[in-house]
C-alpha cells in the first residue's frame, strides 16, 4: 500500500473516532486534503480492516455518512460497564406512526390520525421526545408537520431514506383483499337488513 493511502486510512479512522456525527466522504476529503477517489480507496481499506467480527468496532454507513459503531457481540459487556439500560422497544402505536412519517414525510398530525383512524398525539409526542421524528413546519391551519430525524437513520442503521424497504411489500395479497371486501359487504347487508 502506498504510504499516502495508509496515512489517509489512519486519519479517517481518527476523524470518525472523534466525530459524534456521521461524516460524509466529501467532508473527509476536505479534512484529509485528498480527493474523493482517494477517500473511497482508504474507506474500502478501513472497511476491510474493521471487517465485522474481527475487531470491537465496525465501519457503518448511516444517515448519509460514515461512522464507527461497536460490534453487536460486545453489547452485553458495554451495557454492564456503562450501566445503560436498553431503551424500550417501539409500541404498536409508535411503530405505525413512525412508519407513516417515514414513508409519507412530510406529513401532518391530522393526516397521521386519519390513516390510523385514531388520534395519535401520544405516539407523536413520544417519538418526538425520543428524537426519531421532528417538526418540519406548520400546515395552513397551523397543524404540525413531521419528518424523520438524522437520529432515526442512525439508530435504524439506514444510509438514507431510500434504504427503507418498499412499503408496497406490506400490501395484502389479492386474496386478503377479496376476503376483506366480502366480510365488509356481508356486514353492510346485515345492517341494511335491520
Amino acid at each position: 500500500m502506498e504510504p499516502d493511502l495508509e496515512a489517509t486510512v489512519r486519519e479517517i479512522e481518527a476523524l470518525l473516532f472523534l466525530s459524534s456525527h456521521p461524516v460524509s466522504e466529501l467532508d473527509l476529503a476536505e479534512a484529509c486534503q485528498v480527493d474523493v477517489g482517494q477517500i473511497a480507496d482508504a474507506v474500502a481499506r478501513l472497511e476491510r480492516d474493521l471487517d465485522p467480527g474481527s475487531r470491537g468496532v465496525q465501519l457503518r454507513r448511516v444517515a448519509g455518512g460514515l461512522t464507527l459503531a461497536t460490534d453487536p457481540s460486545t453489547e452485553a459487556a458495554a451495557r454492564r460497564l456503562l450501566a445503560k439500560p436498553r431503551t424500550p422497544p417501539l409500541t404498536q402505536a409508535q411503530a405505525e406512526t413512525l412508519a407513516i412519517v417515514a414513508y409519507l414525510q412530510p406529513v401532518s398530525r391530522p393526516e397521521i390520525a386519519r390513516i390510523r383512524g385514531v388520534s395519535s398525539e401520544s405516539a407523536v409526542s413520544s417519538l418526538s421526545e425520543r428524537g426519531l421524528i421532528e417538526e418540519s413546519g406548520r400546515s395552513h391551519f397551523g397543524a404540525a408537520i413531521y419528518k424523520t430525524s438524522a437520529l432515526f437513520e442512525k439508530v435504524f442503521g439506514l444510509d438514507g431514506l431510500d434504504a427503507l424497504p418498499d412499503p408496497t411489500r406490506f400490501d395484502p395479497t389479492p386474496e386478503d383483499e377479496r376476503d376483506l371486501r366480502e366480510r365488509l359487504l356481508a356486514a353492510g347487508e346485515q345492517r341494511a337488513g335491520n
Binding site: 473516532f17 472523534l18 459524534s20 465496525q58 457503518r60 461512522t67 464507527l68 459503531a69 461497536t70 460490534d71 453487536p72 457481540s73 453489547e75 458495554a78 436498553r86 431503551t87 422497544p89 417501539l90 404498536q92 409508535q94 411503530a95 405505525e96 406512526t97 413512525l98 412508519a99 407513516i100 417515514a102 414513508y103 398530525r109 391530522p110 390520525a113 386519519r114 390513516i115 390510523r116 383512524g117 385514531v118 388520534s119 391551519f141 397551523g142 397543524a143 404540525a144 442512525k154 439508530v155 435504524f156 442503521g157 424497504p165 412499503p167 408496497t168 406490506f170 400490501d171 395484502p172 383483499e177 376483506l180 371486501r181 365488509l184 359487504l185 353492510g188 347487508e189 341494511a192
Partner: protein
C-alpha cells in the same frame, strides 16, 4: 349556537388564538379541523377563567358545557372511521370500496410499523460513541491563533481590582439572622434539654429569627440530630433530641 355568546373566553391554543365564539364559528365553517383543536385546553382555559372570577354564572356555565359537549361529540365522530355518517349516503358497494381502501392503507403502515420495530431491535447491538472532543480540539491552536483581544482590557480590569470598595452605607441596615448561629443556638438548647417546646424557647424572638430557626431545625432533622412533633395545625411544637448530647456537641 348562532346567537352572540355571553361567554367571553380568550383562547391561546396550538391551532387557534382568539375568543371562543370565533373558534366555534370557524370550526363550523370547517376552516380549522376540529381534529386539531385541543378541547382539553379549551376546558382548562375556562376553568382557569372561573378560578380568576371566583364565582360561577350558572347560565354562562351551562352554555359552555352544552357547547363543549357538542364539540366533543363532533370530534369523536370525526376521529372514528365514520361508517354511519359518511357511508349512509353511498351505495353499499361504494361504501365497501371506500372502507376497503382505507383499511388497506392502514394495513400497509401497520405492517411497515411491525417491520420497523423489528428492524430497530436488530440494530440495538450497535452502539455509537458520544464523547466530548479532547480539550486540545476545543481551543485555538497556537499557530492559528490571531490577536483578537485588547491588552488594555487586562490593565483596566487590574485597575478595577485596585479600587477599594466604597464604604457601605449602614443606615438602612436590617438585622440579619444567620443560619449557622441558629444551628448552634438549637444545638446548645438540645445539649441542655432532651426535649423542649419551640415557643417556650423561641417564642420571644422576631418572626424572621423564628423562621430561620425552623429552617435550622429542618437541617438538624436531616442530619438526624433532632425530630419535632406538632399534634395539631398551629399547635405547640415539641423538639426532641435524637442523639446523646456528647455527640451533638461533637457534631457542632
Amino acid at each position: 349556537m348562532t346567537s352572540r355568546l355571553d361567554l367571553d373566553l380568550d383562547l391561546d391554543l396550538d391551532v387557534f388564538v382568539g375568543p371562543f365564539d370565533l373558534l366555534l364559528t370557524i370550526v363550523l365553517r370547517e376552516e380549522v379541523s376540529l381534529l386539531e383543536v385541543e378541547l382539553g385546553e379549551v376546558v382548562a382555559s375556562y376553568v382557569t377563567r372561573l378560578e380568576e372570577q371566583g364565582e360561577i354564572e350558572l347560565e354562562v356555565a351551562t352554555e359552555f358545557l352544552v357547547l363543549i359537549a357538542a364539540l366533543l361529540e363532533l370530534k369523536s365522530r370525526l376521529m372514528l372511521p365514520g361508517v354511519e355518517e359518511e357511508l349512509s349516503e353511498m351505495e353499499p358497494a361504494e361504501a365497501v370500496e371506500e372502507l376497503v381502501a382505507r383499511m388497506l392503507e392502514y394495513r400497509r403502515y401497520r405492517d411497515a410499523g411491525h417491520e420497523l420495530a423489528a428492524h430497530l431491535e436488530s440494530q440495538r447491538g450497535y452502539m455509537y460513541r458520544s464523547a466530548p472532543l479532547p480539550p486540545d480540539f476545543r481551543r485555538v491552536a497556537v499557530d492559528a491563533a490571531e490577536a483578537v483581544y485588547e491588552p488594555d482590557q487586562l490593565a483596566a480590569a487590574f485597575g478595577d481590582l485596585l479600587q477599594p470598595p466604597e464604604r457601605p452605607d449602614l443606615s438602612h441596615i436590617v438585622t440579619t439572622v444567620s443560619l449557622q448561629r441558629r444551628l448552634s443556638v438549637l444545638r446548645s438548647a438540645l445539649t441542655q434539654l432532651s426535649r423542649f417546646d419551640f415557643d417556650d424557647e423561641f417564642g420571644g424572638e422576631d418572626r424572621l429569627t423564628q423562621a430561620v430557626t425552623i429552617f435550622a431545625l429542618l437541617e438538624l432533622y436531616s442530619t438526624g440530630e433532632a425530630v419535632w412533633e406538632q399534634s395539631e395545625n398551629c399547635g405547640p411544637i415539641t423538639v426532641r433530641r435524637l442523639v446523646p448530647s456528647a455527640s451533638v456537641a461533637g457534631a457542632g
